[in-house]
């Protein structure tokens, strides 16, 4: 564990007054190793470690605190700050109803399930009357999946036959929302690769037609190094508002979360912590920081 590795590296600090370049070298290396084992992007880990090293150098060694612990705290706090990003802003607020949210992301990341979870969360916590729009017309039974979830939760779902086109379905879904007094509309889109030009263009078409107040990128917490490639491309194509990290109930260290926040500059707003509709939590940066550091 990192604590163990740092404990060993910190014999050098015992009796020292100040953290210096040489007495923290082993500790820095242990932290970088921990980040890499947690799937953090290579460059992101390098930059992050250099940044914290700058902060740590010259810090007085607090007498009451075990130096290894103090060093870990330095990293934990920096990681938390980074993950906290602009979280204070939360979901966007629409100048006039309905608030339109658009979910996007790679195949199987958890978008459809998250749409239902978010709708339930908004109804329970913000007294909203959400409408789910089934805009994935390509995956077999994707529309059925959202409709089944809607039925289970008594949440309205707007759907059309799969011969329709996603941008038009979304636009008509918005019109439907206005006639039925829904104050939130959540657009579920098909999973797609960031390198699939026609499908990325389709996402931009949906965005141009429906002008969502917030685009949420749904990311699997077990993503490896490819996380930055896909996040960068989605971020380049769409104005991302925030991120949702899913399957956090697993045991992946979740370093991809750090990488994605760093390259998009957007905060993680929610964490999916299970398959049930109420398994959605507001993201907890300090807890995630501890998990990434291992």
């Amino acid at each position: 564990s990192l604590a163990g590795a740092l404990g060993k590296a910190y014999r050098a600090i015992v009796g020292q007054k100040v953290l210096t370049e040489s007495n923290i070298e082993d500790g820095i290396r242990a932290v970088r190793q921990a980040l890499l084992e947690a799937d953090v992007n290579f460059q992101v880990a390098k930059e992050f470690v250099a940044d914290v090293k700058r902060r740590a150098l010259g810090l007085d060694v607090i007498k009451a605190v075990e130096p290894g612990q103090q060093f870990i705290k330095c990293f934990h706090d920096a990681l938390t700050d980074l993950l906290l990003g602009g979280q204070a802003q939360g979901l966007p607020v629409a100048p006039q109803a309905p608030l339109v949210l658009m979910m996007c992301g790679l195949q199987g990341s958890g978008k459809t399930t998250t749409c239902a979870k978010l709708a339930l969360w908004l109804r329970k916590n913000k007294k909203k009357n959400p409408l789910l729009v089934a805009a994935d017309l390509q995956r077999p039974a994707a529309v059925d999946q959202l409709q089944a979830l809607g039925k289970q939760l008594n949440i309205a779902v707007y759907a059309e036959p799969t011969t329709a086109r996603p941008p038009e379905v979304c636009r008509r879904g918005l019109e439907h929302a206005r006639t039925r007094q829904h104050d939130v509309v959540i657009l579920d889109t098909a999973g797609r690769l960031h390198i699939d030009e026609p499908l990325m263009k389709e996402l931009q078409q949906i965005h141009d037609l429906c002008k969502p107040h917030g685009v949420l990128l749904v990311c699997d917490s077990m993503l490896g190094q490819d996380a930055v490639n896909s996040a960068k491309e989605f971020h380049a194509r769409l104005p991302l508002h925030g991120l949702v990290l899913t399957k956090v109930d697993g045991d992946a260290r979740g370093g991809a979360a750090l990488s994605i926040v760093k390259v998009t500059g957007r905060p993680i707003l929610f964490a999916g912590v299970g398959e049930k509709p109420d398994d959605l939590e507001e993201f907890d940066p300090p807890r995630m920081a501890g998990r990434i550091l291992g």
């Binding site: 690769l193 699997d220 190094q225």
Partner: protein, 278 residues
Amino acid sequence: LFSFGRKLDETFLEELEEVLYNSDLGPVGTRIVEDLKESYRKREVKEVAEVPAFLRRRLLHRLAGSEAPLVSAPQGPTVVLIVGVNGSGKTTSIAKLAAHLKKQGKSVLLGAGDTFRAAAVEQLTRWAERLGIPIVKQPTGADPAAVAFDAVAAAVARKVDYLLLDTAGRLHTQKNLMAELEKVVRVVKKQLPDAPHETLLVLDATTGQNAIRQASEFAQSAPVTGLILAKMDGTAKGGAFFGIREVLPVPVKFLGVGEGVEDLEPFAVEGYVDAILT
């Protein structure tokens, strides 16, 4: 990275470590760079120009024996159980595998073993209809072991060549769901002692080091005999497979390379390694 005249120095080694790391090789990549350092010290590798060949040899060596075709039971239906974490590509891989087998003239039966997730039965049923392949199913909420039982019974009665049994996605951290998987395996074994003849763990190629945990944990609850690396058509290289090889040395039977029914390829080690070194 391997440009002409480049020195084999610390900067080169760090850049190389980054390239391997970016393909999700993780600690295996670090170890390979250590091996290279050692070989350089012993003058076995003298310059950067020799590094690509060195890497290729090392990577291929680690993957020796990692290719194998789908098994075929000597008699009776071959039961193929498909397992893996949520969203990895199980149901779609079953559809692709079914189409592939049907093309080879084999008779196939599908078992809709995911009785939990919303519209999971519908999803596999749509595929069955598209492919003209029979499917055994029960309504969502049924006991998955009961579906497994029915599917095996039907496979035997109809004398099909292959039964492809779908299961619900599950995280290996969910003890009750892993126990459920063990029960499905037991039920299948009880009916056909040699079944499941093949248990394929479907892994998402974009997954990082957690894939190694998935492999070792799933192998505790099911007799995993092979892997399917899905979503290899993206930019991910599926490099976690190197780490998996150290804890679960089973072959990769297929690669998933798209969302269409034709998008299944047999695993070819050389192409896989070349993609990582490009």
